[in-house]
């Protein structure tokens, strides 16, 4: 679980928060409602998850309910592995 969180965090930091202090991004930082992931960024994140973990994320899952925090994302990934 922590490995997934770390991978997701470093991906988000690299892609969407360049230059940011990693400590600012916590497990519960709101990503979609917090303005960090817009709709395009969400699509990019989903394709990263699918490729990295060999899973399929359905369209209805690529929403704020499943992807708003690193914790939510890690839980979604784990539920599919």
């Amino acid at each position: 679980m922590d490995a997934i969180k770390d991978a997701v965090k470093s991906y988000i930091l690299k892609e969407f928060l360049p230059g940011e202090d990693p400590n600012e991004l916590t497990d519960s930082t709101p990503l979609v409602t917090g303005g960090i992931l817009d709709s395009l960024a969400t699509l990019k994140l989903v394709s990263f998850l699918e490729e990295q973990y060999g899973i399929a994320v359905h369209a209805h899952e690529a929403d704020v309910e499943h992807l708003d925090t690193v914790q939510d994302i890690a839980a979604l990934v784990r539920s599919k592995m």
Binding site: L17, E20, E24, L25, T29, T33, G34, G35, I36, D38
Partner: protein
């Protein structure tokens, strides 16, 4: 009270009424010595400029360049040119010589009155463009002494001949503003345009001979028109604020206090600086009766801070492009509610003008809908110098044959009948199908307590589409994290308005007129 005189007669008229009254004070600068002149002295000095210009071949209808630091000398040149029947063309002495050479060549000035220290580089630049105009070279401007010395070798006595009674439709000045093509374009204003505006200022601000006006804006900026002509019309005193002092809040606050200014007029950003760094709580600024601001949106939190520190004066938000000068105005209410974050309206149309709000097809929009503000009337420009196509595009003619200037600004009318400024037509971008006004994002950013300045630009390319970049400076150099910033935006703005990138800098770049330099931000990578 109105005086039935023309623009170039304002000075002489006041000099006849109150010859010994102080017309202009010029405080000392760091390296310069100022002084003061009476109405009589300024009128005489400008007569000598008029005579020298005539002897150099300047005729009514010509242009005369003004290329020097703001000073009593510069004011005398302005009136000397007007008295000769010429239009003056002020350029920024701090701008690159090549730009000034372009401007002065573009409107083919007959003569330039300039500081000698600026001559060599300018001459080099203008010689490449065309014929070099006549010059009057002034060594060390300040207090009018440098100019008087430059005119001293005139063998001819001061002529008793009167000044040219030129037609009011003749040009009074040409103010160059940055053009979208990258070349500055000259906004032509007639003497009647200027008088129309000056008379309106008289009616609304009711100046008297005991008023003491600031002159903060440089002469090449349209705010200077109020500064130069309104106090003079009423026999009041104008206090010049030099370039260096103009950006130093401590010195500005000291100047308002010591010189007992009664009317202040500047861009909002200067007032914000005064409130933050001017130590105003320790100053006695009780002389101020009017605070006027124009040129950009005044973020409410900064306006509130200024009003809290300087509560006595009436505050007016003046709005208008150089092409019309001020065309709408709004008096800020005595109390600004603590919860208010929206900027105040730009208000109602000035009484000497008419306005309408039109859609993209030039049809009047229903009341309350948004559209482009268009202006007609006495102070609307004659056109852009030597740019007939741009001039034609700037106006539309209605069925009754009346010409309306398109401001390029999108407004709507609120319930009280005041215009609310929504943004520049060219600052509206489409992003993912949504219409985004960059100014609205800025207003959202200004709500953050740590943010001192915010500017948002949009760039677009085929690959990334429209990208929105925010540039910020923070109070006390605070460091804001991207997560905090994005989260704050998401709480205050629709998600499609959250900027893609944030760049925090010590201070945002400014133009010579103290507005945020958007072009430089756009060009930065």
């Amino acid at each position: 009270m109105a005086y039935e005189v023309q623009l170039h007669e304002l000075l002489d008229s006041a000099a006849r009424r109150t010859p010994g009254a102080v017309a202009v004070e010029e405080p000392d600068g760091a390296q310069t010595t100022g002084g003061a002149v009476t109405y009589c002295q300024l009128a005489e000095l400008s007569d000598r400029v008029r005579d020298r210009l005539r002897s150099l071949g300047v005729r009514p209808g010509d242009r005369v360049g003004l290329y020097m630091r703001k000073s009593i000398d510069g004011l005398a040149v302005i009136f000397g040119a007007l008295k000769a029947g010429a239009a003056y063309v002020p350029v920024d002495p701090q701008a690159p010589p090549s730009r000034n050479a372009y401007i002065l060549n573009d409107c083919s000035v007959r003569a330039v009155v300039m500081e000698r220290r600026l001559e060599a580089h300018w001459r080099e630049a203008i010689e490449q463009l065309g014929p070099t105009p006549q010059t009057i070279l002034v060594d060390g401007v300040g207090g009018g002494r440098g100019l008087a010395a430059a005119l001293a070798d005139d063998s001819a006595p001061v002529s008793a001949s009167s000044s040219n009674a030129s037609a009011p439709t003749e040009l009074a000045y040409i103010l160059y503003t940055s053009g979208s093509t990258g070349k500055p374009k000259g906004v032509m204003l007639s003497k009647a345009n200027a008088m129309s505006y000056v008379d309106w200022c008289s009616d609304v601000f009711e100046p008297s001979a005991s008023d003491r006006f600031s002159s903060h804006a440089p002469f090449h900026f349209d705010l200077s028109i109020l500064d130069i002509y309104v106090p003079l019309k009423h026999g009041a005193t104008l206090v010049l604020v030099g370039e260096e002092a103009g950006k130093d809040p401590c010195r500005l606050a000291g100047l308002i206090e010591q010189r007992r200014l009664t009317v202040w007029y500047s861009a909002p950003s200067i007032l914000s600086l005064l409130a933050q760094y001017g130590d105003l709580a320790k100053r006695d600024l009780s002389s101020l009766r009017l605070v006027l601001f124009a040129g950009e949106v005044f973020p409410v939190k900064h306006l509130r801070a200024v009003k809290a520190l300087v509560p006595r004066p009436r505050y007016f938000n003046l709005y208008g492009p150089t092409e019309t000068n001020v065309c709408t105005y709004y008096e800020i209410p005595a109390e600004i509610p603590v919860e208010r974050t929206d900027p105040y309206p730009i208000g109602k149309t000035c009484e000497h003008l008419a306005s309408r709000v039109v859609d993209g097809a030039g049809r009047d929009v229903p009341a309350g809908d948004e559209g482009e503000l268009c202006i007609a009337g006495g102070s609307v420009m004659q056109g852009y110098w030597n740019l007939p196509e741009q001039t034609a595009r700037a106006f539309f003619v209605d069925a009754a044959g009346r010409s309306w200037y398109r401001t390029g600004d999108i407004v709507k009318t609120d319930a009280a009948g005041d215009f609310v400024f929504l943004g520049r037509r060219d600052r509206m971008v489409k992003r993912r199908g949504y219409r985004v006004e960059l100014g609205e994002i800025e207003a959202g950013l200004y709500r953050h307590p740590a943010i001192r300045e915010a500017a948002v630009v949009a760039t677009s390319n085929d690959e990334a589409g429209v990208r929105i970049r925010a540039f910020l400076s923070c109070h006390d150099r605070q460091r804001l994290s991207l997560v905090q910033l994005k989260r704050f935006c998401a709480e205050n703005l629709p998600l499609y308005m959250v900027p893609d990138t944030f760049e925090v800098v010590d201070a945002l770049p400014k133009t010579s007129t103290d507005k945020i330099d958007y072009q430089r931000l756009k060009d930065s990578t």
